[in-house]
């Protein structure tokens, strides 16, 4: 069985200084986002537009996908459709085999994480080099990214220094970020020059032009795609937007929401293969149709993967991305993942206080916290809640529907706590582990009211 989010979070928090550092670092990013958003008087209007364009697109998805495929093909792009992650991996493997390629670089693709492409190809003896700095660091460490925009955010520079010392023979104990980045750069330059095939993600696919846009800060998508003879871009089908002019909304929202930058350093527009190059596009479903069919959850597909909801989430900041054990962690991951495997991810919608901050920062206005609440209802209805919880809830529901019984239980409870504090203040009481119990008062409000207040007219 999967370890629960709560258990992994507890492990993460056991190192409190590191938790504080993680929390502060991400909060800093959240504040940068606030400043950037404050800089645009039309911010809330932009969010509304972003939201409406995505809503519209999701309701007309098949048409836009058809239009996009047609245009992309006319541009000379080879379009593939993949029903699930496995098919996606097979398609890519087939292309690799056809060209007898050994050296592959990859940049900016959370989708390939979702489909576990690296593992798949590794089993076939093919090595893929992740070229984005953070991705490369976690790849060296055989870890999964812990954040969709800042994949190595769980690591401190000392950790990176150690990893590079082991894999890139940098000086032991040299934690200078510039030194370490330079080492990574030299290492990756070689990989780029040698690469025969580049895999990239897609941020936006434009139906009217058949082209797609990849947003990066390091420029690795370009480096890869411009040197390799074959370029494969992978996208979930929800990346589609109707028109190029809509980029004016999304490019402004994306980087501001993600890191507080006005725009990503590179917004690379790909329209067709350059002479002699082969360009493939793999469009993936992998559970998205199913999510589209769930009325309460369909609009989670509006997500543009900015990770603002991660950075603002008080739970994510204190539990780390690995505690979610999904390719996409954080609040949005918790509403996407139950769709893929409800049983395995049944605890994720509960890994939230429903504070609603995620919904407030989301640039495309996904009602994330409401969907968390709704997933809870679905998970319980489908029988994935643990049985002790179910019994407790049934008892509670019964008590609250019977006023006199409720009062009796309340009285007993308070009396019990007063007479035998150890009944509640013991190690079986999770609340008490790190918190005191409230001191039981001598009477309830109702009891006081009957003696001192007015008597209800009813």
């Amino acid at each position: 069985m999967k370890i629960s989010h709560a258990a992994l979070a507890e492990k993460f928090i056991a190192d409190e200084p590191r938790t504080d550092w993680h929390d502060d670092t991400l909060w800093f990013v959240r504040e940068k986002r606030d400043k950037a958003a404050h800089g645009l008087p039309e911010w809330e209007q932009l969010r509304e537009w972003g939201s409406q364009i995505k809503d519209h697109t999701l309701s007309n998805l098949s048409n836009y996908l058809k239009e996009f495929e047609e245009k992309a093909k006319a541009n000379g792009i080879i379009v593939h459709w993949a029903g699930d992650g496995d098919e996606h991996n097979k398609i890519i493997h087939t292309i690799i085999q056809k060209h007898k390629i050994q050296k592959i670089v990859k940049s900016k693709s959370m989708l390939t994480e979702e489909c576990h492409l690296n593992d798949y190809l590794q089993e076939k003896g093919i090595e893929v080099v992740d070229t984005d700095l953070g991705e490369r660091i976690v790849q060296f460490r055989k870890e999964a990214p812990s954040h969709i925009v800042l994949p190595a955010i769980h690591l401190k520079r000392e950790d990176v220094s150690e990893t590079f010392h082991e894999h890139l023979q940098t000086e032991k104990g040299n934690n200078d970020p510039q030194y370490l980045t330079e080492a990574a750069r030299q290492h990756l330059r070689d990989k780029f020059v040698q690469s025969e095939l580049a895999i990239t993600g897609v941020n936006f696919a434009v139906a009217e032009t058949g082209g797609f846009v990849v947003c990066t800060n390091e420029g690795n998508a370009d480096m890869g795609a411009h040197t390799a003879a074959v370029h494969i871009a992978c996208m979930g089908f929800e990346k589609i937007i109707p028109k190029a002019e809509h980029l004016a909304v999304f490019l402004r929202l994306l980087a501001r929401s993600a890191t507080g930058q006005p725009i990503t350093t590179y917004s690379s527009h790909f329209h067709k293969p350059r002479p002699g190059q082969e360009m493939h596009l793999v469009i993936v479903d992998n559970g998205r149709s199913k999510q589209l069919g769930r009325e309460d959850f369909r609009n989670s597909l509006k997500c543009i993967r900015c990770a603002a909801c991660f950075n603002t989430c008080p739970v994510y900041r204190r539990s780390g991305g690995h505690s979610y054990q999904t390719a996409v962690a954080g609040p949005i991951g918790s509403i996407l993942s139950p769709n893929l495997d409800m049983k395995a991810n049944a605890d994720l919608p509960f890994a939230s206080t429903l504070c609603g901050s995620c919904t407030n920062v989301c640039p495309v206005k996904i009602n994330i916290h409401e969907q968390l609440w709704k997933w809870r209802q679905v998970i319980v209805a489908e029988g994935y809640a643990d049985s002790t919880k179910t019994i407790g809830m049934k008892t509670m529901a019964y008590l609250f529907s019977k006023p006199s019984l409720y009062r009796f239980a309340g009285k007993m409870g308070r009396r019990m706590m007063k007479a035998f504090p150890f009944m509640t203040n013991n190690k079986f009481n999770v609340w008490y582990k790190q918190r005191e119990m409230p001191k039981p008062p001598k009477e309830s409000f109702r009891e006081w009211y009957l003696k001192n207040g007015k008597i209800n007219r009813k």
């Binding site: 603002t312 509960f350 901050s357 809640a385 529901a397 609340w431």
Partner: protein, 245 residues
Amino acid sequence: MQVALFIPCYIDQFYPQVGIATLQLLEKLGCDVSFPLEQTCCGQPMANSGFASLSKGCDANFVENFSGFDYIVAPSGSCVLHVKEHLQDAAHPEKAANIRKNVYELTEFLTDVLKVEKLQARFPFKVGLHNSCHGQRGLHLSSMTETMTPSFSKPEQLLNMVTDIRLSKPKRNDECCGFGGTFCVFEEAVSVKMGKDRVAEHDDNEVDYISGGDTSCLMHLEGILKRQGSKIKTIHIAEILNSSL
């Protein structure tokens, strides 16, 4: 004006003084307040745990108790939000709809319905306000740091009418305290860490009290403060607005 007082179950059982302060405050301000005697709970603990389907009996009891009033007022943003968003009664859909429309959290009732401009209250202490998420983001009792809208705060507006109070803001003014209903036990480690972090920011401001509109948040913070042996106390905003120290 017929006002029904809704006292959430944990206030009834553990913090009667919050109910008393609310009642006295509303009466001072001229409301004709009734306390329906057969009330229990709003059903939120079940619903937020995924068991909304079990709360029908509880909901029906709520509707039976609270129909026929002009307003229903409770000293809890969280419970009010739950009633507003989720109260259903198949047998009496109109009554349920009326309640959803007329239920108010205490501070918004004071600022928006009673339009209170003056209070006879004195509280000579330094107070850090904790904004509960359900009150703030759910009921919009104050502006939020995430959205780019003009800033306001209904609880602060009221606290500023209190004589001799000194208000202070924590560094992260609207970060969640980590209570979260059953979250506080099922995700104990995160919940406590969140609470400790809230407490630390108020501690930095050297407050005497942490106050707010939701007793559930305060109960959680109080539990942490007491365990730490802190001098800081918690107090519901109704108690401050009703105090005459």
